[in-house]
Structure formats: structure tokens, C-alpha cells
Symmetry: C2
Subunit: 274 residues, 2 copies
């Protein structure tokens, strides 16, 4: 069938980079049913031959050339995967030679360098940020916010917790979060625990219909999940952001990656890790 | 100076893909001091001209062509960044046309497709996995492990928590963790809460010197962080893994990404999201 393709992400290391870039390429092609297979740690000649054979079999079964996205640092392994039965795209191969020419230096061809722990300091920054996010999730003590890089504010289930964790893991940023509850509404000004940290606040909002859907997964048929209540809470939260001039973002159609990188950009946060 | 280069990651969306692939390329070049700048959301002609001008200024200041890694879907924006004063690598440009030919279909040129929320089901799987990891972090009730996809086991500070969170965020996998404490050692067999879930266990271990260093960041000069105690705990944990035939992994020189993808691979876990 023309509308079905098998896609392999192959690497001599984790395959994360191959997956990410390959995925962002194939999502540009709508209407094709992609079957995705990740094969990490293909780091020997033997394993490479096995993978090449598997891809050949898939080509026969599918009646169409599989797509292969790879990030091989070792030439000898990469070449084995380069079979005519597949459409092979190796991300390193395409770019490393021009870079060597530009930088007037040979690349070190060190497998998996990019995800290796580069130094103890970076590792610590990351773990510290994760621990910070965990300790300041939905039950923050006011005094603690002084060490936060940013404080996400929003109603329950608007996406605060996963965004905080992603900011910690991906950027090493210390993100706390403060849940807005009905107690916080109908007052003038910011909730008391937040008043001293206005410059660190970033609001999340969400379409009420979507919020109701998310909340219903957790507590079906509850007042908490009812559309009326969701509409009320979202309207109050948005009024609070406007009145206090807090920058904010609608999370409805955004992935966690998009939310996190948008917040880093808009709040001009300094990342601690790469 | 020849040994210093500015690197720009530029995108009309989050820039995450450009950062990840660009980073994995430049780490292949040792001895060069790369100054990294991410410029996301460059999605208009005007913004593109500003970025191009900024890159030209950097080239003048540095006396060397900046490296520019980009992932532009829109041709008209991409072309503006393609200036002779920089070494520009656009990841989409290089691969999208050959893919169009292979798939006999034009790409949709939809900006940021890859990180957009693809469907509600995937979003839920991710959030559910994050909530699961949070609820089962270091204080698990035995009965709860029945719904875990995997249970990470290891001494305090061996890397369990960030790995569980990464498994949740990146793969939608429900990972619980069980901290091995001195109470668990010196007994025959597995700790009681784990006995019914042996097939789900995955052990983490770490070089004692590194563990002592990590623990000292948290509790300096404590018995907990002493090298003697770390040696004892690690030796006991490793004996437990061996005796119970639990697969395990040394976390010392691995990043969280590597740990997570290795566990997914070795434990043959099914990912819920892409």
C-alpha cells in the first residue's frame, strides 16, 4: 500500500536525536500511516548486518522502501545500513564533513558524546532543578519562592507540573508552581504568597472545554470537572493575569516542549544545561 | 581567535530540534569554545532580517563565521538566514525534498508540527505517566506497583527519580521507584514489597566515589555521604541484583537520556508517545 511506510530510527547510541529529527520530518507528510521502530545501540558490524537484513525484510513485506533515519558516528557501521532497499538519511554524514572544513579540525567521532554527562556541575544543576520542582509542586511555602527562577501559576490541570519538570530536566531551570484555587479569586490583587514575587510569575491558561475534558478523566461527573466551573475558574485566572500584568500562555494546543521553550524565551530565563 | 565560535540555533518554532542535533554535531569538535545562542519563534520576514543582522554583527566581532543550525519549514524565512557570513546548516532543507520524492507527496510545510499535540490520547498518556511517577516516588505502596510498567531500584541518589520522570515525559512510561535502604540489606531475597513484581524490576548502580560526591552536595560530612558507607550500600545493592537476577545499569557516566533509552531498550518497554 502506498499509504503505509515503516520508519526506522537507528543509531549506535540512544537514537534520541534520530527519533526527534526523523519524527519532525515525517510529520510533514499527512495521510501516510507511518509504523515507527527505534533500534538503538547498533554499535557493532554484526548488529549492523542484522539491522540491514531486518530492513530488507520489511521492504519485501511492505512492498515499499522503508525510511531509515540514523545518526551513526562510526563510518563502518553506517555504511552497512546504507542499503538500496531503503531510503536512508544519516544526519551526521550529511553535516559533519562541511563542519570539519569550516572549523578546520577533524571531528572526534566519539559516539554518543552529545548525551554523555559533560561535567559534574551540569549534572548537579539538572538534579537540583528536578528536586526543586518536586519540592515546590502544588504545595509551596512562600519563603521558598525566593530561590525559584520562575513560578508557574494556573488552575488545577492547566499543565503546571509537567511544564515545571520539563523545565528542570531539559534546561536545569528551577520552576515552582502555584495552583490558583477558588480561594484566590474574587480578591483584589495577587494571592498573598505571590505578592513579593510578581516579577517571577508566569500564568498558564487553557480553553475551558479542554480543561473540563482533562478533569473528567480524573474525576468524572464532579463539580470540579463541570464545564460551568471550568469556565468560571479560567475566567477568574485570566482576569487575575490581566489585572496584575502577568505574562501568560494558553496551553490548549501546545505540547510540553513548546510550553517550556516559549516560557524560557518570553521570560528570558538562563538555561543551566545544554 | 580560532578556538572560539558562536553557534546559533534558529527556528520558526521552539528550536528544540535544532539545538539537539546541532549540539550533537558540535560536541564532536573538542578544544573549541562554543558560545551557544538559541533564537526560537523566528517566524516572520522581519524577525528573520533582525536575526540575519545579528549574526552578521557576531561574525564581525568574532572574526570567524558563526555556525547556524536551523529548522525552518518556511522557505522564505529560511532563505533570509542563509547569509555568506555564516556557516548555515538547515536540517529540514537538506532532507525534505528527497523525502518528497521518495514518498511521492509534497510536505505540508506545517510549522512546528512535530511538537504540536497530536491527539488527546497521547497527551493524556504523558500526563498520566508524569502523575504516576510523582505519586510513586520513593514512598510506594506495594499494591500500587501492579500498574507500573517498570520499577527502578537503587540506593539513595543513584538516579532513580530523574530517570522515572524522563521515562514519563519522553516515553509516557509509568515508572515507579523503590529506594534500597540499609534495612533491605543483609536479608535473603528481595525486599518484601518487591517480591511479587520481580519481572518489572530494573536496578541502578553507581561508582561509590561518585555517589559520595553527589551525597556530599546534599549532606556534607555526614555518615550518609561517607565513602565507606557509599561503598557498603553499593556493594549490597549490586549483590542483591546479582542474587535475584535483576537487570541493572551503572549510571555513573550516563546522562538521564541515555539511562532512559537504555532501560526502554533492555526492558523492552512499549512507549506510549512519540
Amino acid at each position: 500500500m502506498a499509504n503505509r511506510r515503516t520508519v526506522y530510527f537507528v543509531s549506535d547510541r540512544t537514537g534520541i536525536t534520530a527519533e526527534m529529527l526523523g519524527h519532525s520530518l515525517i510529520t510533514q507528510f499527512e495521510g501516510i500511516d507511518f509504523k515507527r521502530v527505534t533500534l538503538p545501540f547498533v554499535d557493532t558490524i554484526d548488529k549492523a548486518h542484522q539491522v540491514a537484513e531486518r530492513i530488507r525484510q520489511t521492504a519485501l513485506q511492505d512492498g515499499a522502501r522503508p525510511l531509515v533515519f540514523s545518526t551513526f558516528v562510526k563510518n563502518e557501521v553506517r555504511e552497512i545500513i546504507h542499503i538500496p532497499e531503503a531510503h536512508v538519511v544519516d544526519f551526521f554524514e550529511a553535516f559533519i564533513e562541511p563542519l570539519e572544513a569550516e572549523l578546520k579540525q577533524e571531528s572526534s567521532h566519539t559516539v554518543g558524546k552529545s548525551h554523555a554527562i559533560e561535567n559534574f556541575h551540569e549534572y548537579n544543576a539538572r538534579i537540583e532543578a528536578v528536586n526543586y520542582a518536586l519540592a515546590h509542586d502544588d504545595g509551596i511555602k512562600p519563603s521558598d519562592l525566593s530561590t525559584a527562577d520562575i513560578v508557574l501559576v494556573g488552575v488545577s490541570r492547566s499543565g503546571k507540573t509537567p511544564t515545571c519538570l520539563y523545565l528542570a530536566l531539559q534546561y536545569g531551570i528551577k520552576a515552582a508552581n502555584y495552583p490558583l484555587t477558588p480561594d484566590d479569586f474574587g480578591q483584589t490583587g495577587l494571592p498573598k504568597p505571590l505578592q513579593a514575587f510578581k516579577h517571577k510569575l508566569f500564568g498558564l491558561t487553557i480553553v475551558p472545554e479542554r480543561l473540563a475534558q482533562i478533569r473528567a478523566e480524573r474525576k468524572p461527573d464532579s463539580r470540579y470537572a463541570s464545564l460551568d466551573n471550568c469556565r468560571f475558574e479560567v475566567a477568574e485566572a485570566e482576569a487575575l493575569y490581566r489585572n496584575a500584568s502577568i505574562p501568560h500562555l494558553n496551553t490548549t494546543n501546545k505540547s510540553i516542549e513548546e510550553l517550556a521553550s516559549t516560557i524560557v524565551h518570553k521570560a528570558n530565563l538562563a538555561r543551566r544545561i545544554y
